[in-house]
Subunit: 284 residues, 6 copies
């Protein structure tokens, strides 16, 4: 999967809103007091940790929306691996704008790079298998599109984007429907021909029921490694097998080795720490 | 500091936007297929971890904006300490709405509770001192107001909310101005009488310079414990002393014992993991 | 497929915007001049043509957003078949609000009912076959969600909702990729496991190439009935077969009889005439 | 009446919203997978039917908002008459953007051209008379400004734009007021000196009453040709005479020949089919 | 002209935006600190000056949007004459909400009442004539609809609401067109049949030219009383005569006595001082 | 205090909204009819009164948002003193855009210059003292940021921007708390370390109580000159002393001479008349 930049129409409103959130009603009163209008700042965005970078376009937008006179030159591209000190971008322009946009730019790039890095680490841990890492809908409210992008930047694959682009039948749906098979049938009768259906199963009996009526993917939730292995054998290529539950850097390799196609991880988007990225100013 | 709920005018647009992000263009196609219009769901929001809860109002709004017929009954209030199994709220109403809003509601309450819990843990670690925990502007873009609220729910104190409500003179400001004293003077001449001024100092020499011209607060950045102790002695009550840098649950007590007034922690808002909160359905 | 109402969160902003478009800066100056504040209007929304009704919720919202004191009582539900004179809803309340909202309410319900009716007519024409009618992305800008809903109300099935929820490889994609198979492979490598892939083919050779690499659905564009029949035989259940091009009420039965699964029709949403629906006031 | 382009401030938000509606949360996943970043597309927007073109500015904006690097060169101007094959514009630029914006651009230009073409056809049918074609408030919700523009592009004249820019007293207003004369008097007393007043009359007796108190225009609703002729004679230049009801290409000439000034036609905006316009790619 | 309330759809977004502007990111920190959640406030909105009140609905909305539990009881209606001490409304509810919304509510009602009062004073000064007071487009940006409403509340009449609902040919238009008559003819050929045309004339020669080609209204700009009298005689009922320029409470009667129909006054909306209105709390 | 331009991100949405308010649904129908597309206008923005100019950036934006081809060249900067005839800016470009944006541009610059001029006049009246002029929260709804900026342009200082950036304890807060000291203590316990606290006192006894517990600023409301003098003596540099109530150009000098630091004036933003600024066209 090639990493494709998000359309500017999708990210510009988010960056604009984030800047307005920080500027408040009066703007950056500290910088306004200190930097003369003609004061120029030169700074380099640099990593302070190992990881994978993501969100450079959003950082660039933060500076350019504050002041179009700021030049933002990417040195790296999203998805690149960085080490401490690695230069990600060079920024030069009116100091007022550079300093005013700095925090918002870093908030985006460090958060998204954190997600990308966590994804990359997990992906590396399972790279000896065919398993791919995917995220869930446990994303930060209002930031789903860019967080899913960060997962892709880290080498993860896409899961569904919301409630409407694929069907995911969960335990409560099954309870309401009265069974796995009836749930799948109801959904299949309801959705269009371009909607895939995945069903969450907690037991091998449920899996058998699901495979019996046919389904595009099965979410094997919180199964033991033995169960996962047996599930993969039962599926036998008839559906995509996705493991979830208690996935960590330590457990991921063994889970992947069971033969599942996907491992879904909620904490990539809800709990991954940021990647430490900062600006190094050149005050000569 | 009493915890005061955020005005609904501030939180409603965020919850609405989060729901729309998840509903996409067609809504919850899975639930729509499975749950009949008259199917009723009863569920309890419960903690699955120790921590402090925050964001119950946002969760309530998520359900009520999806379907006003859903009854959301809080059992706990924001700021309450929870243990695994603790019931936070009871929700009952049309199953379609309950299932459709579930993820958004949990995304809010688990994220904010994660921040509140991390804050509470740090606060507990320094509770034998006068030091208070505060957060920074390293918040999630678009969620600053609610994340700062979560810090308060966890017992933390407020820092500035943006670039315009207080002046914080940082290292790059000082470099541009050419010194601590001149930077403070420029800001003082620029801002209104209701704006406080804080200055970041890296050395005791800078601190001395700051105290010489007078300032409301000093950010003692990345100082050793010895430096912090000396800084507190130098300040001698003339300014608020805020320590920052390398704060963890382990290092916080010693930092607090130096006598600083505040300890600021970026990772409360940029890297705290969520608190695991889920819904337990009653399918009888 | 049961018809499920669209979430109010999706339709309310559209109805609100439509009312504001009509109210302009000063509101309904004619009605304001003529109807006293306590003047009550009673009216019945009635069909003036045979067809299928859709959009009643939007009409109800139009009245309720203008004045919550207006009572809107549905007599029929979306998807119902109507004949001239059939009563769809009864509306009663302050005359100012009723008259001010009337045109917007009718603009929604007549347009959506026009789409539903056209869909129902086409569906009836192919009801002796397994073929289902689907629409395309040739929808009215800003109204896609409600127009796709109207197609469902008329008995049609869903196609993809936008550029991001399913992959549809068209002629120009194939030209850029350099062939059907390579195009499908590139897309498969790029998209997530819950994304279906459909490919448009103009010839049976292209179809063979598509089936060779495997694909979820094939769009058989502008093929003759003979070609369609052969295509269906070639597909042999391995993909969904969708016919498109030159579909009219007259041609649809024969197309459906070729054995295709779906018939997609752009004019359902871009050129269907409205269904004539009006309000009959009771001025006693 | 010269055709004046709509201000970009009015059309840009509509085009932007339409693109976002189509891009969803992840953008054009098909094109992203297939077209390399440096792949260039060259295409010509061409008519496939006889008609009058309108909406070229909106199509241009669709491409430019997706990617400012796309060059859109108009070959024709809105209001121009086209024949099948006529080239309307040439578009060249990064293939990703061109293919992603194509459908939205065509949705606008084909819909507006459909309205312009229908208006032009009707206008031609009455061109031997002084009658002008006008549209109504039966426009597509959210698109009124651009649909009224399309009517002008087709040679039609403006009617009122909403409820607030002119008074139009309809049958229900008359019923509430208790008569034509009292209704007109109430409105005249209420509105400002720059607001014109039109009254809908169903009978010649009502017309006489209207002319007695004076009014700027009369809407002669569903009258026979004889009634229209008599109405025109009664009006005798004292008001604008507008005929409405059952207007088709076939009936329009005779209606126009009665001497009315305007013929208003709802279906221009609510039921006109699109004009078939497509893109011809040059894949050399 | 009866005063008709503005639709809530028009005023609600303005009041909501004004509250958010005041609440900022953290709400009313003073009131939150002082008033307990169950503290109840009782207060009366009262005039402190003679004048005419307007904007009560907006004040009510300010309180209700902050907290629906607040009861706002109007004692007077917009357009009522008040004396110092006159009670306009009674407000009771949770003190937090009442105090937080107070300033926004008063900002609306005092500003709009200031406009209404100035209009009423001017209207009274010309009440022995047929002249009506009207305002211009010199309104506060973003508040035109409510300011025009305040003029109506003060007994003024409506002028056009914007650039699109009536044509007003000004001196620069005439200069560009090359003369009064050609300007009027160009506009008449361009606009729809429900658009009135007014022309600004600086001399009686221009007036004669305007009347020669016919026009709905003439704006007699900065004419002497003698000129105005002569202009009225020349017009002789063939157009509405509007005087403008140097209108004050002192000059208005004589201007009105020249026989003009309207006197337009820019300062009603751009420079009228507020009417002093406050809240009297009952702290028993 | 140097005058720093507001970030374009803050002012652009306001100017855009103001233009849309004026353009309505059809734009400037008068200018569209009269000015040919290639007609060029040259005009100079000039003062017609003595005063201080503010808002030039907003005027520039108005022209540029209407048509980017318009060149707006500032001759003066905000904060400059002008005399009748003083040229503020030169504007040249397509006449359609220039004439369409003219009123909105002038509405901004004349209103903000009116505020700046009133502030400058008051500031001049107290320039022999240390007192600075400040404004209040009695600003025009939706325009607070730009009105506060205008006060700064006129030489005034900032007061708080809203309810959340500083605490201002007023009479009703004191009544609810039960006293000045308890009110201050409650607020101090509630707010963050970067929030200043001001308290409104009506009597010297209250002032003494406030100074006893310590506070950043005191608002001396409606005190006599004698009281103010005594208050200043009592404060003795321990807090900022702000006088308010009955401030006019005439009373301000004596108030300032009492030694207060600040004089706050509501009418600067709620009742200052505009500064007369117009456009002089060059029609050669």
């Amino acid at each position: 999967m090639t990493l494709v930049p998000l359309p500017i129409l999708l990210i510009e409103p988010i960056v604009r809103e984030a800047l307005l959130e920080d500027l408040g009603r009066a703007g950056d009163i500290t910088t306004d007091a200190i930097a003369a209008p003609d004061c120029v700042a030169r700074t380099v965005m640099a990593a302070r940790q190992d990881g994978v970078v993501a969100g450079i376009d959003l950082a660039a937008l933060a500076f350019q929306l504050i002041d179009p006179a700021i030049r933002f030159k990417s040195i790296m591209a999203d998805g690149a691996t960085v080490m401490p000190g690695a230069m990600i971008a060079a920024i030069e322009g009116p100091a007022r704008g550079v300093l005013s946009a700095e925090r918002v730019a870093l908030n985006f790039v460090s958060r998204l790079s954190g997600i990308a890095s966590a994804t990359a680490n997990l992906s590396a841990a399972v790279s000896h298998t065919k398993a791919r890492i995917v995220c869930t809908r446990k994303t930060t409210p209002l930031l789903r599109a860019i967080e899913k992008y960060a997962v892709r930047a880290g080498g993860g694959a896409d899961h569904r984007f919301g409630l409407d682009d694929a069907a995911l039948i969960k335990d409560n749906h099954i309870a309401i429907a009265g069974g796995v098979a009836v749930a799948i049938r109801r959904v299949r009768a309801h959705v269009g021909h371009l909607v895939k259906i995945e069903v969450e199963v907690d037991t091998l009996a449920q899996l058998e029921e699901a495979l019996g009526v046919g389904v595009d993917a099965v979410l094997l939730d919180n199964m033991s490694l033995d169960q996962l292995r047996e599930a993969v054998a039962m599926i036998d290529g008839r559906a995509v097998g996705e493991a979830s539950g208690r996935v960590t850097l330590e457990t991921a390799p063994a889970i992947a080795e069971t033969g599942v196609d996907l491992i879904s991880v909620g904490w990539l988007t809800h709990s991954a720490p940021i990647l430490d990225i900062g600006l190094d100013y050149d005050h000569r």
